[in-house]
């Protein structure tokens, strides 16, 4: 196996990965940095797909405290408060850097200053943006900055597993595969940053790119890292309904609701009046998504199992000018967003849970830093729109700085070669079997299983069934084979087998954690425990790999040091009215 030696290895090249690379390099240009991405640089993952924008406190009338409290309220108060505070207090620095050093140009308001638009769940208009397709600019400009620096980029190269040192006490790089050739090789590094993004592809209807199969999380899981609150999966309320097309589930951005777009059920009722009469459609994502889902489940949806999003009363000209990207997307399915109502459905969007980190992105394993969607704790039980790319940039910067410091202190430890060889053989297994399972059938089944049994509305019994079925699917995918076993070059099927293997690992974490949390909070709703239970469940659930295929689960009360228990009021929580 080929071995590349490096100071820092970064898996993932979205907002978090790119910013980590830039910061690590700028902290110390003498470091050798290798960045690997499953896609072409800057093209994979979701930072590029960011539509709405980035939440940041820039206006004198706003305050960090406001942003912080909004983030906690949105997150059902189980956020890691240190991480949430770091998020809001670092955000202005990240935006400053993006605009002044990286070269982005955010939309300006009437006064010539950076414009901030309204987003749901926020007490102040604080979302900076570039029209309604912000991510293109953010990621393109960061990628351009990578070109100015001596950073080795391995495109279409995916991480397979983390490697441990001979003593097994730290992470010393990763086993990777070059998708273009099918070659498996090693990057031996002092520090490894995992920033590959989330896992929403586990659901039938999902918003992110299809490459978000929880690779980073699965890799960290297999290496033994500890996870937090994996049951918290966000569903975005307004995914486009496009039948069997891949466009199905793609987002219509939150700014639409922020600007006053309304939701109606199939009977023409503005149903949010029943679920959150105060904030209506501008309620947080978890509530709006679940409300829509419940309307649909109660048979009050449209005939395509959806609800209507109506922006036409805002004025066609306004919608076309403010949301050109959304208008164009809807046009692809033959509808006119500016002039008629459009069918939308909740769509799997974001994983709030993830690898447990501290405010310097350090995980429970030595030598392993995690940032972006792979990390958990920042957003608690629900993420606010606009806090996602905020998280990626803030923690990407921090991971880069921390990695540079660590890499400078540490010596390069050799990796355990026999372990690497074993991993390699395991990943090559699909090529060695003449017959076997079809990975696409397994993938379809996971998507349906998770949607039905571990989706927006959960119930203990079904979660248990899902957990059992996932174990069976794990065995099934182990028997998967590739149709053409002499073809390792750009073999999509083989990569799908890796994707699905990773996906199942993450699904199991989600399902197990969801079973354990016997209450409803934020994105996690248990039909059998519909109330929020602050007495017993102001807690975080931690999981890691146990013996064999077991999951080790522990729970710990949330550390409420910045926003005390006394300040948490009942009115912050959802009360579902019966129809």
């Amino acid at each position: 196996m080929e071995v590349i030696k490096a100071d820092i290895l970064i898996l993932g090249a979205g907002g978090a990965g790119l910013f980590a690379a830039l910061h690590a390099y700028d902290s110390n240009p003498r470091l050798k940095i290798v960045m690997a991405t499953k896609a072409l640089i800057g093209k994979g993952g979701c930072s590029r797909m960011v539509q709405g924008g980035l939440n940041v406190v820039l206006n004198g009338k706003d305050s960090l405290e406001n942003h912080f409290v909004d983030t906690l309220k949105g997150g059902g108060f189980i956020n890691n408060q240190e991480l949430a505070w770091t998020l809001v207090s670092d955000a202005p620095k990240a935006v400053h850097e993006l605009e002044v050093r990286v070269g982005c140009f955010f939309d300006r308001g009437e006064d010539g200053k950076i414009h901030q638009k309204p987003f749901a769940g926020q007490s102040f208009d604080r979302t900076v943006h570039v029209a309604d397709l912000t991510g293109i600019q953010l990621i393109s400009r960061m990628t351009d900055q990578i070109y100015a620096r001596n950073i080795q980029v391995l495109e279409e190269t995916r991480g397979l597993d983390l490697l441990s040192s001979k003593g097994g006490d730290r992470v010393v790089g990763a086993l990777l595969s070059d998708i273009r050739t099918g070659e498996i090789f090693v990057v031996n590094a002092k520090v490894t940053i995992v920033a590959t993004g989330g896992c929403a592809a586990m659901y039938k209807i999902s918003a992110p790119s299809f490459d978000k199969t929880g690779d980073g999380m699965a890799i960290c899981f297999r290496a033994g890292a500890e996870f937090v609150d994996m049951e918290m999966v966000q569903f975005h309320p307004t995914g486009l309904v496009a039948g069997r097309s891949r466009l199905n589930g793609s987002l219509l951005e939150e700014g639409l609701r922020g600007s006053g777009a309304r939701l109606y059920n199939g009977q023409g009722e503005r149903f949010m009046e029943r679920y959150d009469p105060e904030r209506l459609e501008r309620s947080t994502r978890d509530r709006v998504a679940r409300s829509s889902f419940m309307e649909i489940m109660a048979g009050r949806g449209t005939k395509n199992n959806a609800v209507y999003l109506d922006a036409s009363h805002l004025g066609a000209e306004f919608v076309e000018q403010k949301f050109p990207g959304m208008v164009e997307r809807v046009k692809d399915i033959g509808k006119d967003l500016a002039r008629e109502k459009v069918e939308v459905t909740p769509t799997a969007h974001y994983q709030m849970g993830g690898v447990r980190i501290d405010s310097h992105c350090r995980s429970s394993l030595k030598g392993l830093l995690v940032c972006g969607e792979d990390a958990g704790g920042v957003h608690g039980a629900n993420r606010l729109g606009g806090n996602g790319i905020c998280d990626s940039t803030v923690y990407g910067r921090r991971a880069g700085d921390a990695a540079a410091a660590l890499a400078w202190e540490e010596a390069l430890n050799p990796y355990e070669e026999s372990e690497a060889e074993k991993m390699r053989m395991r990943w090559l297994k699909p090529f060695t079997q003449d017959t076997g399972e079809n990975v696409y059938e397994i993938r379809d089944e996971i998507e349906n299983l998770m949607w039905k049994k571990a989706g927006l509305v959960r119930i203990g019994k079904k979660l248990a069934e899902a957990g059992n079925r996932l174990m069976e699917l794990l065995e099934k995918v182990d028997q998967a084979n590739v149709a053409d076993k002499y073809l390792s070059r750009y073999n999509l099927e083989w990569n799908n087998i890796i994707d699905v293997t990773n996906l199942i690992a993450v699904c199991r974490l989600v399902v197990n954690s969801a079973r354990h949390r016997e209450e409803s909070r934020g994105a996690h709703y248990r039909e059998d425990f519909p109330a929020t239970d602050n007495e017993n469940w102001l807690k975080n659930i931690y999981q890691k790999k146990g013996h064999g295929f077991e999951l080790e689960l522990t729970e710990k009360p949330v550390d409420l040091k910045r926003f005390e228990r006394e300040r948490i009021e009942d009115r912050f929580f959802e009360k579902v009215k019966k129809h």
Binding site: K43, G45, G103, F105, R141, Y147, S209, L247, Y490
Partner: protein, 240 residues
Amino acid sequence: MPEPLHVKVFRFNPESDVAPKFDHFQVPVFDNMAILDVVMHIQNYLDRSLSFRFSCRIGMCGSCAMYVNGRARLACRTQVSSLKTRDITVMPLPNFPIIRDLVVDMEPFFDKWKKIKPYYLPKKEIDAPVTVQPDSDEREFIDDMLDCISCGCCYSACSMVATHKDYLGPAALNRAYTLIADKRDAIRVERLKAVDRSYGVWRCHTQFNCAEVCPKNIVPTRSIQNLKRRCVLKKIGVFK
């Protein structure tokens, strides 16, 4: 059941195949079907060995550009119904080396992108986001041109790229324009020098092929003409 699509797909593995060939597939049609749905259907259910590249599926990442029925397009944003025919031919983008089947090597494209120094470098005195009135002409038409998703459609459609391997091509030049016209940038003159070469802006014959295929409706020709004008202004000392 409506009549299925007759899809002809380009197949080539440079490692083992002597010559490329076409495979034929019958693909059932459904509502809102895009070309990406077509190739995914083939790959998932008809021939698992087919290769193509994609990521975001909603026209934001620029990974899935292909040559469909004689024209470079994003597979995800090309509705089957818009082609107005049941016969579909899918090929890799022209002007690029082929990795396998529909996957091309974007390296030449990004090498040229790098040549124009695509990274922004702020002037020393700028330490805060600049104030720009939205209705001022400070930004010229930069913001319209920044929508580029580097999908390579323009590059594959440009006949100057086809005839000369060194020509920078529409996307790189468009990126150069967005930096050179950005008054915040510190090395605009240096950038302009990098494109003021025979195989920089001067090869553009204003054929507008790039603009015709751009999935983001950018008109790189306009940026290139603007760069040519600036080259002249630089010569007479007006552009500094």
